[in-house]
């Protein structure tokens, strides 16, 4: 079986969530089926500047084809268009213009997809909100398997994506909450779909003591891993943590791993280690009292899964449905929605060693049951087999005509998003989603 994976960026040093997800899937499935990655020459997701050379490439044994991006992204233009489609009544054409502004626009990549009629059995398209996934699905709907990696954000509620959700062959969801939101939006219950997520490359052994020595982590600490930016809830995390320190005499540090995109408060208890190697990251994670996930929007937090794989509890932002749902379903993490919650939950995690250990065990079990690689691989392969045996579903709805596209009848995405079902999902509903 030949499968192509289409993703906006690809590389060993690209650490974006969806991009890492795609790379892991490609590398794991390559031992079972023929995998080829089609991607752009971009490295930076803000500008889509062509940095990799176009043409054939190889990363960790996976063959890659890179295509040039036609134009870089203008953040100002993108901001203006985003405001328009997110907050006002608008037209479908404005949404298409927004997608054009979002990028990465690579006509060569789309032409390659259209030429690949008999070459690939299936094309796995990553991240629905990007140009290549949307037009890729329109180019080859009968072979498109979509990995939406959709967060509960306004872009998800744009009207142009609803036909995509209804017209692709299958959807590999990251979480129950993501599936509920997409089905609530597009009513695509008849499209084959499964909640898969992604595993992680967990090292066989970690050395927390080494991490303590290397990074001089003498005090107990909670850890944040990821880009340090406001969109990830870091500003709120800093605020809550400093307020916690003011009200508590606990000897506790907040350790940050990741690239900063906002000023980090200069506080003796807030330590920023910068970008570290994977081994260092896992060692520090194993040494942490807990992992903090302050993000509001996540389709799946890989670092939370890594913490659970290492038996560490998680303290997550309860306003993110996905994180809250995962904490509840795994019984391996607490969540907060206010500074008071944050302090009390943190105290509870640190005071009650028995409970934290039990959560760690639950986390390991949850990870092994749902996110270990054999489980993930099996779900993908089963889906491909199922699609190969079944006849194609309904055809993808075409775009409306010139005038209809320009009629300002589409409600604001924020309003649509507010009407979607929300809240964490308690249980896996389908027996097929609970691996034996």
């Amino acid at each position: 079986m030949n499968v192509a994976i289409v993703v906006q960026r690809y590389g060993a040093d690209i650490s974006g969530g969806a991009e890492l997800h795609a790379r892991y899937i490609a590398e794991r499935l390559s031992s079972r089926i023929q995998i080829r990655v089609l991607t752009t020459c971009a490295r930076d997701h803000l500008t889509w500047r062509n940095e990799f050379p176009p043409g054939a490439d190889e990363v960790n044994g996976i063959p890659i084809e890179r295509f040039r991006v036609a134009r870089e992204r203008s953040l100002r233009d993108f901001g203006i268009r985003s405001r328009r489609v997110f907050t006002r009544y608008h037209s479908l054409q404005e949404e298409l213009d927004w997608l054009q502004s979002e990028g990465p626009v690579s006509p060569d990549l789309l032409a390659r997809l259209q030429r690949s009629a008999g070459e690939f059995d299936f094309v796995v398209l990553f991240s629905v909100r990007y140009h290549q996934a949307y037009y890729g699905a329109r180019a080859i709907p009968g072979r498109a398997v979509l990995v939406p990696t959709a967060e509960r954000e306004p872009a998800l509620a744009l009207a142009i994506f609803q036909p995509i959700f209804r017209g692709v062959r299958a959807i590999m969801y990251n979480s129950l909450e993501e599936r509920a939101a997409i089905q609530g939006l597009a009513h695509n219950e008849d499209v084959p779909g499964v909640v898969v997520g992604v595993g992680s490359m967990i090292p066989a052994a970690t050395d927390p003591q080494r991490a303590r020595q290397v990074f001089s982590l003498s005090r107990p600490f909670v850890l944040y891993v990821g880009r340090v930016e406001e969109n990830k809830g870091c500003a709120e995390l800093f605020d809550y943590f400093q307020r916690y320190l003011e009200s508590s005499r606990r000897d506790l540090d907040l350790v940050l791993i990741g690239t900063p995109a906002m000023p980090i408060p200069s506080h003796p208890r807030i330590r920023h280690l910068g970008f570290v190697s994977d081994q260092d990251k896992f060692d520090v994670l194993a040494a942490a009292a807990a992992l903090v996930m302050p993000s509001y929007f996540e389709s799946l937090s890989m670092v939370a899964l890594e913490a659970w794989a290492l038996g560490r509890p998680v303290l997550a932002n309860g306003r993110c449905d996905v994180l809250q749902g995962q904490c509840i379903r795994s019984n391996a993490g607490l969540y907060y929605e206010s500074a008071g919650d944050f302090a009390a939950a943190l105290d509870r995690l640190l005071d009650d060693a028995g409970m934290a250990d039990a959560m760690g065990r639950n986390g390991r079990q949850y990870f092994a049951q749902h996110y270990s690689w054999p489980v993930i691989e099996r779900k993908y392969l089963d889906m491909f087999d199922r699609l190969a045996a079944a006849s194609p579903g309904r055809p993808l709805e075409p775009l409306p005509g010139w005038f209809a596209r320009r009629r300002p009848t589409v409600p604001a995405a924020l309003d649509v998003l507010a009407s979607l079902p929300s809240g964490p999902a308690r249980e896996y509903q389908s027996a097929s989603e609970v691996p034996a």
Binding site: I328, A344, G354, M355, A358, N362
Partner: protein
């Protein structure tokens, strides 16, 4: 002075505190939280979060849901936006604009129709004949004056009118958006103020409660200090000096069973049997009627009482036993009053003030341990009478009959 508390017990500051922070690691691990009982990985995150939030609500004192706070804020907003102080129309407009969509303002059609003025407008008419005649006479008219500047001016004016109308519409739309934003901000501010006010009230109550506890503790400390001052040696004429009586006991041969009881008065060592006996006596005394007790009551022997160690379990029920112990009998009066030398014969004890105690009965404050007052003993030769030359043993002669139980002197 011998430290009675070294090594064996927790410090007096910690007595009576049963918090988890005062428990040792071993005890902590022996008491798993309810979620984990049953063994295994039985952790219910939702239950834990409910507990945490319940505790937060309890700590804040006022358990109001977000909806209740919103309602409260809405009522406060009503009172702020008092119709008597603000134009009702403005208030209505604010409310309407808060809920209305800004788009509506943009789509609003201007009241005045757009008026266009072209070069043929001044000759226009709804009658075709009239139009025709005017057009025919137009060259003649132009002989008299040039209408072009007039036409241009009116044309420009018409354009300006349209632009002004658009500007007005845009301004209205923005104003509507601003109104909605302002209303939203005011609403949120009021909500936050309500939340902060509730928290302030809760904190004020807590401060008051703590203040009362502190005040009570201070009075209690002052009272105990007063009792310590009274425990200074007081020589009462006509009575044998207590220390002189009890002093020889340790040195006396413990031939009689009562003799060791007197020892703590000097050495600070209280034997368990002596404590037991005293408790028995206190029990008997507290069983008396109040009138009888008052008649028989006499000021305690502070020197003895202060050396008797009070246990936490005794201190919990200290109200009933108050008159019987030196510590509890110390009245909560200012230090100056308490330290004034009270005549030993004065039979009326200071009434115990129950008011602050009732406040803290359920949670007794930590007992402040009092060091035994330094009792300066007179020289042995002066205190102890000369042993009689009788053939009885010297120890029995040195220990007077009442020496083993000094309390018995009071009755």
């Amino acid at each position: 002075m011998v430290d009675q508390n070294q090594g064996q017990r927790r410090g007096h500051f910690h007595r009576g505190r049963r918090g988890s922070d005062r428990r040792g690691i071993d005890r902590r691990s022996q008491q798993p939280p309810p979620q984990e009982r049953g063994g295994g990985n039985q952790v219910d995150v939702e239950q834990i979060m409910r507990e945490i939030r319940g505790r937060i609500a309890q700590r804040q004192g006022i358990d109001l849901s977000n909806q209740q706070i919103q309602d409260l804020a809405a009522r406060r907003l009503e009172s702020i936006l008092d119709p008597r102080a603000i134009k009702p129309s403005l208030l209505d407009a604010l409310r309407r604009s808060a809920g209305a969509q800004a788009q509506r303002a943009a789509e609003k059609i201007p009241n005045e129709p757009a008026f266009s003025f072209e070069d043929t407008t001044i000759y226009d008419s709804h009658r075709g004949l009239m139009r025709f005649i005017r057009r025919m006479l137009n060259p003649l008219l132009k002989l008299f004056f040039n209408p072009n500047p007039l036409i241009r001016a009116l044309h420009i004016q018409a354009k300006l009118n349209v632009e002004a109308a658009e500007r007005d519409a845009e301004r209205d739309r923005r104003q509507t958006e601003w109104n909605a934003l302002h209303y939203e901000i005011v609403q949120r501010l009021v909500t936050e103020v309500s939340r902060a006010t509730l928290e302030l009230q809760a904190q004020s109550l807590r401060v008051e409660s703590l203040d009362a506890k502190v005040e009570f503790n201070e009075r209690r400390v002052r009272g105990i200090e007063g009792s310590v001052h009274r425990a200074r040696p007081q020589v009462v004429p006509g009575r044998p000096e207590p220390s002189a009586v009890s002093a020889p006991a340790p040195e006396a041969e413990p031939a009689s069973a009562e003799a060791p009881v007197a020892a703590p008065a000097e050495g600070g060592q209280t034997s368990e049997s002596a404590r037991r006996r005293r408790r028995r006596r206190r029990g008997r005394r507290s069983g008396m009627g109040s009138g009888e007790g008052q008649q028989m009551a006499a000021p305690p022997r502070p020197d003895v009482a202060s050396t008797v160690e009070r246990r936490p379990e005794e201190s919990k029920g200290s109200v009933e036993h108050v008159p019987d112990t030196g510590i509890n009998e110390a009245p909560p009066v200012p230090f100056e009053r308490a330290s004034a030398p009270t005549p030993f014969e004065h039979p009326v004890p200071t009434p115990f003030d129950h008011t602050p105690l009732e406040h803290t009965l359920s949670e007794p404050p930590p007992i402040v341990q009092i060091e035994p007052p330094p009792i300066e003993l007179p020289p042995m030769a002066a205190a102890v009478p000369e042993p009689p030359p009788a053939p009885e043993p010297p120890a029995a002669a040195e220990a007077p009959p009442s020496a083993p139980d000094p309390d018995r002197h009071e009755y």
